[in-house]
């Protein structure tokens, strides 16, 4: 496990990966266990849904019904999952760079014959691998929940649903990562990435309700996640690519910035 920066970084995150993966996985599994009873009382829940103000519905991912498995899972978990996962992504991203600089171990790392860009890329790859692992555990847990309740959703779709929050969460993490590469201290990186994730979620919820806010909807980045529905219509590839493109852009910014900065513990 000490063979490369990537492997060591991934190994260092093993406990967090398991903790977050199993925690979110358990949440998904138990949420699914309640689905049959919600479905049975479908009319009651849908009436309740109709009584919700549109503002509240917007925050539940604008679901149309609680009685479809997509509506139920989106409303009760998937609409806000990237926000929860962003806590891990932002914390890990900043820790990988700023943490190592502040502790002074970056000095040791960069005193070895390894270029700075490679340190950044290997650490980023470890972040992507960790987030993917958490999302896979999450998807597998939903698959297990689906089997338990006898759902007809195929296992591959559950996995895809588990992986669907990955591009958005990765974008939040990459913004934090790029800022950690560029500036000293944690505050700027954490604050900006958190503002993007939470602010984007709120703005996206409010945007459809106001003429003034509507043009901002697509800039919230959250929009490019919530419009895809792997359990119902499948993912929207262009939206996924837009999110991944955003991550790539911020990764490049991080690479350039880290290559130029002073390393001061």
């Amino acid at each position: 496990m000490m063979r490369s920066v990537f492997l060591k970084t991934f190994y260092d995150q093993r406990k967090s990966i398991l903790g977050w993966g199993l925690g979110l996985g358990a949440l998904a599994y138990f949420t699914l266990l309640f689905y049959p009873s919600v479905q049975k009382a479908g009319e009651f829940y849908d009436q309740m849904l109709q009584s919700f103000p549109p503002e509240a519905l917007a925050f539940l991912g604008n679901i149309r019904s609680f009685t479809t498995i997509d509506g139920y899972m989106t409303g009760s978990l998937l609409s806000y999952l990237p926000l929860v996962l962003a806590i891990y992504a932002i914390g890990a991203a900043v820790g990988l760079i700023t943490g190592e600089v502040e502790r002074g171990t970056m000095d040791i790392l960069l005193a070895h014959p390894i270029p700075r860009w490679r340190v950044v890329l290997e650490k980023y790859a470890a972040l992507v691998a960790a987030l993917t692992a958490i999302c896979l555990i999450f998807g597998l847990s939903m698959g297990a929940g689906g089997l338990t309740i006898g759902s007809d959703v195929p296992p591959g779709t559950w996995l895809l649903t588990g992986l669907h929050p990955l591009p958005l969460t990765l974008l939040y993490g990459t913004v934090a990562f790029a800022l950690a590469c560029a500036v000293r201290g944690r505050a700027a990186a954490v604050a900006t990435a958190t503002a993007l994730s939470v602010g984007g979620y709120i703005l996206n919820g409010l945007a459809p309700l106001s003429e003034h806010l509507r043009p901002l909807e697509k800039w919230t980045v959250y929009y490019w996640y919530i419009t895809g529905r792997p359990l119902e219509d499948g993912i929207i590839l262009e939206h996924v690519l837009i999110l991944l493109g955003g991550s790539l852009l911020f990764l490049l910014i991080g690479l350039v910035a880290f290559g130029r900065r002073d390393i001061i513990p």
Partner: protein
């Protein structure tokens, strides 16, 4: 012609408005042990971090083994071993794991050399870093810096935390490095270790290189302080007349003396009386280079 191990030209670093180093021009030859001296905050660590490309100069240039640390950083670091002043290692890993990681980053290092250094420094490689004392961590850092037998060793205050016995072992290891024709550049604020090891020293004060001298010259001007304890009160006057003696104060049967250069005349004069004890104090670096100014030795 071989290039110098280290060469800097007008090397300057500001952190925002605060001073790091100013116009440092220095040449360290291959095969020498060069001591980089100065009080804390003088800019020793800044200079070292510039040589390793951890920070970038505001002005001026540095060459390490003839290479530009910014352009050829990977090659420089392949051929250099570095011990930071404030060594930080991964607390959850054992010494062995830390060294394995470092060895992989160097595309392999002979295990035999790691074992030899660990044996010489009596380093415990099997305990997690977090359970090691400062001195024992320092040993892991030293092995990491030396295990690939670098052409140039850059050590920032290497004896910090080492017990006197291990300091001696380190001195021997560094002398071996010199015997192999390799170069050592180390910072220190302890004059005796510099006297013991170095061929030449550079003295840094408030970010500026104020002198580069041979150790012999530095010894010549170094001021030593000592207490001479006699069996009864002794007249201090004759001692004041001894060449090299800068200060004499009497307190009961003890004379406090500051002496520069050879101790021989002072000891001979003291031996005229019944001398019970001599207590010596570590030579003061600040005094040493202040003496340098007085003698016009500063460059």
């Amino acid at each position: 012609m071989t290039t110098p191990a280290i060469e800097t030209e007008g090397l300057t670093k500001y952190y925002g408005r605060s001073r790091g180093i100013i116009d440092v021009s220095l040449q360290v030859e291959r095969g020498e042990i060069f001591g980089f001296l100065g009080p804390n905050g003088a800019g020793k660590t800044t200079t070292i971090r510039l040589l390793l490309d951890l920070i970038r100069p505001t002005r001026g240039h540095a060459w390490v083994l003839g290479l530009d640390p910014q352009r050829d950083g990977v090659e420089v670091r392949r051929r250099v071993g570095y011990l930071p002043g404030e060594l930080a290692l991964y607390p959850d890993l054992t010494g062995q794991q830390v060294l394995e990681y470092a060895a992989h980053l160097r595309n392999g290092v002979p295990q035999k050399e790691i074992a030899r250094l660990a044996d010489r420094l009596e380093a415990d490689l099997n305990r997690p870093i977090r359970s090691l004392s400062h001195g024992n961590r320092q040993k892991i850092g030293l092995i990491m810096a030396m295990m690939h037998r670098p052409e140039l060793l850059i050590l920032d205050e290497p004896t910090t935390g080492l017990d006197p016995l291990m300091q001696q072992v380190l001195y021997e290891l560094l002398e071996e490095v010199r015997r192999d024709g390799r170069t050592v550049f180390f910072s220190s604020h302890i004059l005796p270790e510099v006297e013991r090891l170095c061929d030449r020293v550079g003295i840094l004060r408030e970010g500026q290189l104020v002198a580069v001298e041979t150790v012999a010259d530095l010894k010549r001007v170094a001021v030593r302080r000592m207490d001479l304890v006699f069996d009864g009160p002794v007249d201090p006057e004759p001692f004041r007349a001894i060449p090299g003696v800068r200060e004499v104060t009497a307190a009961g049967s003890t004379l406090h003396v500051a002496v520069q250069g050879s101790l021989d005349p002072l000891i001979k004069a003291a031996a005229q009386h019944t001398l019970l004890n001599i207590i010596t104090y570590e030579p003061n670096l600040e005094e040493a280079f202040l003496a340098f100014y007085r003698e016009g030795g500063a460059q």
